[in-house]
Amino acid sequence: MVTLRTLRITVASISFILITAIFLDVTNRIPPSWSSAVVSLQFAPALISTIYSLGFAVIGVVFVSILTLLFGRIYCSHLCPLGTLQDIIIWFRKKKYKHRKYPYHPAHYRILYSVTAFSIIAAFSGGAVLLDLLEPFSNYGRILTTLVRPLIILVNNIVALLATSTNRFGIAEIPLNGMNLWNIIIPLSFLFMIIGLTAWRGRLFCNLLCPVGGVLSLLSRISLFKITIQHDACTDCGLCERVCRAQCIDSEKNSVDFAACVGCFDCIGSCPTNGMGYTFKLRSVMTKKEDTDRRTVLMSLSTALLATTGVPNIVDTTKTVSGYSNAKTKPVVPPGGKTQEHFESYCTACHLCVSACPTHVLQPSFLEYGFAGILQPKMDYNVSYCNYDCTICGEICPTGAIQHLQQQEKKSVQLGKVTFVKEDCIVEIKKKDCGACSEHCPTKAVKMVPYEKKLTIPQIENEYCVGCGACEHACPTTPRKAIYVTPNPVHLIAKKREEKRMEPKAATPQEFPF
């Protein structure tokens, strides 16, 4: 018979493997639409996306909410990749230390609900930094993108090297970009924290700091199905408490704190007398303890609300075009990011776009967007430039920070404008032809025009510029690029170049001209 535990392990494995695969798909073989479908059930990104617009992402929010209202926080053990990561750590710990368990410990609801309320309310008002740093999907994404992906690329490159030396070219080397100490520190510290917390007290993170855990914990308080100890069948053996990873079963008091239960269902299988019930309960029995919990919920919620009102909005929505001079120092926002403030408010820095970007132009930032935008991806024109026809980042972005643009629309979005510094240009300095910038420009916003001594020099027509960074990337001058993109704080529309069709007289020659 399929137990709830085997079902959980199956579902969690599938979900975990799929999510891991899309982040580690170093050869970009998984179609963006599949990636998008896989992450659509991730609660925090779906919630953020729904805040912005009631789109497709609402399915994820509704699905997870209904699931929780029916069965409790099973999301935490079935769909959350960080949850499964903790379960893997727990499994290893069990292997190593057979006798160390996670005994019952009252959950820290005051902290959990405060963190949850604060981060979500802040996200609603446009400052998602706390959510970014604590939300499980994005953290798992960052761990994979920053810490694991480079290792996979390394392995790929070794295999590619071996294959190439035997004259097989099916596997290509992949450039290793964006290896930056600062970008590594945060995911690495988070990973260490998770390992530490898990080794110490099981799923403590989920009941202490996780905003998704917080929301689902609240919902699970009124869920239809709940795990309870059947007092008539219970023999007080305490086995259920010994297997519980959420420290939510108090076998001395024969009670299950279901709001802290992550739905792993280990306790049900562990009970030798079928004393753990997972039963339909229309309304939770009001015990004195739950009453205190309710008070905690209300108190932490109101504290958070008060706290949030006191915090200035990290992103001021009234400042748009006028904020140009301030925003100049910020990085270029990817196409579909709309405005710097839109992008910064909705991006949780999960780095899915970073791992999917075929040109690798999308790289994690550190503090370039400011503290509130820590680790959010930026267009890094040192590494590469944005492919003119590509729309992948918008297709896969789970939070709507990068909106999905159709190809024609994307090709007209102007991320920034180009600046040409003649004094730094090869043509001016060496009096020799170069033109690398103009070669790469997909719209010929950078054109080579006649200059002294039969030379040609770049000329800028910014109305056609899309800010893709091809010119900046190609420019050979060092240390300063003679041509570079300055970001538009609000993305604009580039003019489409309309040119007459070339005269057909230039077609197949009547006679060869030689």
């Binding site: 080397e173 075929p358 170069c434 997909p442 170049r497």
Partner: protein, 308 residues
């Protein structure tokens, strides 16, 4: 002469690294086949009015067939221009039909292996795919090889170079027995035109060095490093302005033409004329002629003209 220079650099490189023995194989093959290759009947073959594959077949017929060049069991490198993520109708990359036919005919002539690559400007996977060349090569049974990371490139010195004395070249240039250069004729913002000599930029790793140190001189310098055994210039669709990437199909005319020559300077001079530009206006052609890398005076050459 040019082959010897190449062999020297090839062997020198092999000795240095101890890894590549292709140069030695090539030496043996060179002596084995040196006497069989008769004089080429024409310095340049120009064809117009046909489909790419037909023009190629007719052109090679005039030159005595591809078998004059491709020997049994050789490893052949076909180097198209796959610089950009655009389709064939945009004329940014060599016509895939032509590449497919060349790869096929190499195998018919007895080639052991035909490899194709380019160090692209736009993202390499997208350029390989959307140019249609990846599919064309696979259809013809050839191997499409990446050139996207520095690991594939090995340092060599360029003999007789004024500016570009050193470069890192793709290992296939060092390993292949026969090298067929298949550029497309198109406009170019800074060098006026890109043709066969300019197409050689796709076999090296660092193009910025060329741009920094007098592009024209570097193009001419590198033309002496490894002269292709055959150059086939695609001028079926020709980008007349906004090159080398082009902005839209409006930039393109259908010229249905093709040039074939084993001399890059000759074919580039003819390409310039076909495009409507005086070869003397293209500085790298001038320099290459002055450095005696090839011959640009078309009126002194034996040209076969074919109209279909």
């Amino acid at each position: 002469m040019d082959r010897r220079t190449f062999l020297k650099s090839g062997i020198g490189f092999s000795a240095l690294t101890g890894a590549k023995v292709a140069g030695v194989n090539l030496l043996a093959q060179y002596y084995a086949s040196a006497n069989q290759t008769g004089p080429v009947p024409y310095d340049l073959v120009a064809i117009k009015g046909g489909e790419p594959d037909v023009m190629f077949a007719k052109g090679m017929e005039a030159l005595g067939g591809l078998g004059k060049y491709v020997k049994k069991e050789q490893k052949v490198l076909v180097k198209p221009n796959i610089g950009w993520d655009v389709g064939p109708e945009r004329a940014g990359n060599t016509n895939p039909k032509l590449i497919e036919e060349i790869v096929k005919q190499c195998y018919s002539a007895g080639a052991k292996e035909v490899v194709v690559f380019d160090n692209t400007c736009d993202n390499w996977q997208r350029s390989y795919k959307n140019s249609g060349i990846e599919t064309a090569v696979r259809n013809a049974g050839g191997k499409i090889v990446p050139g996207n990371t520095e690991g594939y490139y090995h340092p060599v010195s360029v003999p007789g170079a004024k500016n570009l004395t050193n470069a890192k070249v793709h290992e296939l240039i060092l390993e292949s027995d026969l090298f067929i250069n298949v550029p497309i004729l198109k406009s170019h913002g800074s060098t006026k035109l890109t043709m066969s000599m300019k197409n050689m930029m796709g076999v090296v790793w660092d193009r910025r060095e060329w741009h920094k140190n007098d592009l024209h001189q570097c193009i001419a310098d590198f033309a002496a490093y490894r002269k292709p055994d055959l150059n086939i210039m695609d001028a079926y669709y020709v980008m007349k302005r906004n090159g080398p990437r082009g902005v839209s199909e409006e930039d393109v005319v259908t010229m249905k033409s093709m040039l074939i020559s084993s001399d890059m300077v000759t074919i580039d001079a003819a390409g310039a004329k076909l495009f409507g530009i005086d070869p003397n206006e293209v500085r790298y052609i001038q320099i290459a002629e002055e450095q005696k890398i090839g011959r640009a005076k078309l009126d002194q050459l034996n040209i076969k003209r074919i109209s279909l």
